[in-house]
């Protein structure tokens, strides 16, 4: 007999995390970002349709992972700082600037925060760019994966990535990677969100669970 059993559901007292799988990849002329949509509090899924691709500016997005509150707050703060910055310089901000703003917050508060944001976008100076800001570092990479589900797909992305892929190839690569990770990681799932950013703007897309590609054993 459990004498001290709480009458409150477990998930009310658990920290809310976006377990997640996130990915971003550059192509010549833009970037593609992708994420799953599961938010968990302990073992409960508290939101199965959350869009983890957050807008920082018209042509700069970031992908959220880790603690949901920390990640959202960083994204909102950087969104504000970027708006101010772009008004001051009188033109669209560079992706590197957005990534640096995220990095500054992640590094300064690295002991208190537990969130990892991947920043990706297009600007006219550098074209499509992907930056990782894990733990407060800043590094540009041709592609990046993050979140708990990323462990399962490191081998896949290492094997499948080729330089100079087209926009459609990149979109397919992102969808395949998300599908594989979501089927292996208990903290990732739901639908897949895709954002494709190029010179013309950002295009958001949502792929439902049953429309995702299936692989062996599914």
């Amino acid at each position: 007999i459990m004498l001290d059993e709480s009458s409150e559901p477990g998930w009310l007292s658990e920290e809310v995390k976006t377990g997640t799988t996130i990915i971003a990849i550059e192509f010549d002329g833009g970037v593609v970002l992708g994420s799953d949509s599961r938010v968990s509090a302990g073992e409960t899924v508290v939101n199965r349709v959350m869009n983890k691709l957050s807008l920082l500016h018209d042509k700069i997005y970031c992908a959220l992972s880790g603690s949901a509150a920390d990640a959202q707050t960083i994204a909102e703060m950087v969104n504000y700082q970027l708006d101010v910055h772009s008004i001051e310089v009188g033109e669209d901000p560079q992706v590197r600037s957005a990534a640096t703003l995220v990095k500054n917050i992640s590094y300064k508060y690295k002991e208190e925060l537990s969130a990892h944001l991947i920043v990706a976008g297009w600007d006219k100076k550098g074209g499509g760019q992907v930056y990782v800001t894990l733990n407060g570092l800043l590094s540009r990479q041709p592609f990046a994966v993050g979140g708990s589900g990323s462990s399962y797909v490191y081998g896949f992305v290492d094997a499948e990535y080729r330089k100079a892929m087209s926009k459609e190839d990149c979109q397919q690569f992102v969808v395949n990677t998300l599908s594989l990770a979501m089927s292996r990681d208990g903290s990732s799932g739901g639908v897949a969100y895709l954002v494709t950013i190029d010179e013309k703007g950002a295009e958001e897309k949502c792929i439902l669970g049953n429309e995702l590609p299936t692989f062996y054993d599914q």
Binding site: Y152, Y154, A159, Y161, R162, L180, A181
Partner: protein
């Protein structure tokens, strides 16, 4: 992931954090492993052989504590050899797998062993059985184990198809192992492969500079 890092006795506790893999094909199995044994951050053996013969056509891939898995493998080799003499014929892979399960489950609190049993017998052909930490037993067409295995689930899911040929399996295993060794600090060295079929066991070693290369490496 088999991690039980104990800084006090790490010097006396060699571990195969490892990546191991086994795939069935029509007519046999292909098994593979990396070759790194670590004690803490030191690589105690960079050319370990983690593919251990249990009988003529039955092998096991070992991950976890080096001592535990060697001891279990020795016990099962003895038990299976005895059983085979009593039966007067080659033992079944399923029998070997159940012997591993019996030891791993009974002593589950004391052991840290993740084992993949694979081989060929004339009743069911090529078979792969996995006995992870805890002592469960399940047959799978393809199985990966060890700390490096998490990185190749996606690669395995997308590249494995049923009814592959032996050469396709060899490429799948060597590709997957080299990807895992690239990403997992606890796996590395050379890739050891073995193809087991009715005709015998064909062992290979792929050295570091001969491993498949990927564009990000």
């Amino acid at each position: 992931m088999l991690t039980l890092y104990n800084p006090i006795c790490s010097l006396y506790n060699p571990i195969y954090y490892t990546t191991i893999m086994a795939v069935e094909y029509d007519g046999g199995v292909v098994i593979g492993a990396d070759s790194r044994t670590t004690t803490g951050a030191y690589i105690a053996n960079r050319v370990t052989d983690k593919l251990t013969p249990i009988h003529d056509r039955i092998f096991c891939c070992r991950s976890g504590s080096a001592a535990d898995t060697q001891a279990i493998a020795d016990v099962v080799t003895y038990q299976l050899g005895f059983h085979s003499i009593e039966l007067d014929e080659a033992p079944l892979v399923q029998t070997a797998a159940n012997l591993f399960k019996a030891s791993c489950y009974r002593y589950r609190e004391e052991l840290m062993a993740g084992i993949i049993v694979a081989g060929w017998d004339k009743r069911r052909g090529g078979q792969v059985y996995t006995v992870p930490v805890g002592g469960m037993l399940v047959r799978q067409p393809v199985s990966v184990g060890g700390s490096g295995s998490t990185y190749i689930y996606g690669y395995m899911d997308s590249n494995y198809k049923p009814n592959m040929t032996k050469d396709q399996c060899l490429r799948l295993v060597s590709g997957a192992l080299s990807l895992a060794m690239e990403r997992d600090g606890s796996s590395g060295g050379v890739v050891r492969l073995a193809a087991i079929s009715e005709t015998g066991v064909d062992r290979q070693v792929i050295l570091g500079n001969q491993l498949p290369k990927w564009s990000t490496a």
